[in-house]
Amino acid sequence: MTDDTIERGTIRVVVAKAGLDGHDRGVKIVARALRDAGVEVIYMGLHQTPEQIVQAAIQEDADAVGVSILSGAHMTPRIVELLRARGAEDMLVFGGGIIPREDIPKLKALGVAELFTPGASTGAIVEWLRSSMRASAS
C-alpha cells in the first residue's frame, strides 16, 4: 500500500483533551494537521473524561484516539483500560504533551501506542499514523 491509496476519510481519529488541563494550542495544531492530511478528525475539545472519550471513540468507530496532556497527570492511562474493557483494544491510543522521557516506556508497556513530546513535527505525527494504519490493515 502506498500513501496514495489512503483515501480521504479512511482514517478516523478522535482527538481530545482530558481533565481540567486547558492547554489546547498543540492539540488544535495536531487536529488541523491531521485533517489537512486527509484524516477524518473528531475533535472533542476540552475537559473530557476518559469515559466520554472512550464512548465517543466507540460510537464513532474510530481507528485511533489521540489525547493531549500537559498537566502531568499522564501516568494513569485509563482510556487504554476502558477500551480494553469494552473489547476495543485494537483502537490505537496515542498522545502528546509534556511527558518526561523516562515515563514513555512505562506508558507504552501499559498499551499506549505512541507519544509525541515537545518539538515533534506534525509531519512526523501524520506519518506515524499512516504507517500504523498500514501495519494494522496488512
Binding site: V15, R25, Y43, G45
Partner: protein
Amino acid sequence: MWVVAAERQGVTHRNLDGTLQTGIFKEYIAQKEWLFPPEPHLRLIADLIEWCAAEIPRYKPLSVSGYHIREAGSTAAQELAFTLAGGFAYVELGRSRGLDVDVFAPGLSFFFDAHVDFFEEIAKFRAARRIWARWMRDVYGARTERAQWLRFHTQTAGVSLTAQQPDNNVVRTAIEALAAVLGGTNSLHTNALDEVLALPSERAARIAIRTQQVSADETGAGNVMDPLGGSWYVEALTNEMERQAEAIFERIREMGGDGTMLGGVLRGIENGWFTGEIAEAAFAYQQALEKGTKKIVGVNTAVEQDDDELEILRISAEVEREQCKVLAARRAGRDDGRVRAALAALAEAAKGDDNLIPPMLEAVRAEATLGEICGTLRDLWDEWTEAPRF
C-alpha cells in the same frame, strides 16, 4: 479568603495592598479556566471592583492578562490588542456601575508575555502604554495621570522554552527579561529552564531569580525609563504595533454591534472569534517552524541527537492525600449550621443585585470552602462550555 485571613491576624482590611489577577476574558480566549458563563463572571468582577474601590483603595483587584493569550499561540499584535480591548471592556463595565474612571482605573493593571523577538516585544510594551493613555484620556474621559498609566507585570515566554538542550533556556529567558526591562515593565517573572518539562526544581528556580538579579544589579538596564525611545527602529516598530492594534480594536467594536468594546469582546468570545484567530496564528507559527523559515536552536537548527538530561521535580501523590486530610479536618471542626446559612445568604444575594463580596466574606468567615462557594453560584448560574473548534 485573603481578606478574612488578614482579619484573623488583626489587620484592618482597609490597609491591605496587592494585586489580583481576576481577568476573565483571557480565560475564555486562552487559558480556559472559566467556571460560569461570561455575564455572571462580569457581575462578580464589577462587584469586586466596586467593593475594593470603597473598602481597600490601595488594592488592585484586576490584572488584565495577555500572557495566556500569547502562550496560547497569538502574535505580539494580537496579544496587545486582545488584552487592551479587555482592559477597555472592564473600564466600560466599571462606568456602567456609575463608578468614576479616575477612582477605579488606577486599580487596573496588566500582565504581558515577553517572547524572544527582542525589538518586537519592546515595541509591544511601548505601544501598550501609549494606547492605554490615549484611550483612557480621549475615549473614557480620565483626567488624572494615574488613571492613564498602564502599569504592567511581565513573565518571560514559557512557550519559547525548548525541551531540547534545555540549558539554552537560560539564555532565552535572560534576553526576554531584558526586553521587558527595556520596555518598561513594573515587575517581572523569569521562567526556570526546566518549566518546559515540569514544575521547577530548586536549582532551576534559583537560576531564574539570579537572572533577574544580574539584570537589575549588574547591567544598569533598569536605571532609566524608556531608554530606547527615539531609536528610529524601535519607534517605527512601536508605530506599526499601534496601527495593528487599532485595526483589531475597530474589528472588535464592530463585532459587538452596539459600539462598545465590552459588547465586541463578549460577542467574540461567544462566536469563537478570538480562539479562532489564535489557532490560526499558532498554526502559521508551527508551519514556519516545519518549513524552517522560523528557527529554534535545538529544535530545527543546531540539533543534537542526545539532549542533556534534566533532573526534574516530581510531585508525590502524597500531597493530594495530605490536602484531603487537612480539608476533612477543617470541615469536621466547623459549625455546619453557620456554613449552610452563609451559603444560603450568598445564593439569595446572587439572585438580586446586591454586591456579592460581603456575603462571600461571611461564607469564608464561616469556613465555607472555595468549592462550596463556587458550587452555590454554579447551581444558580450554570457552567460555561466551549464549542470545540480547531
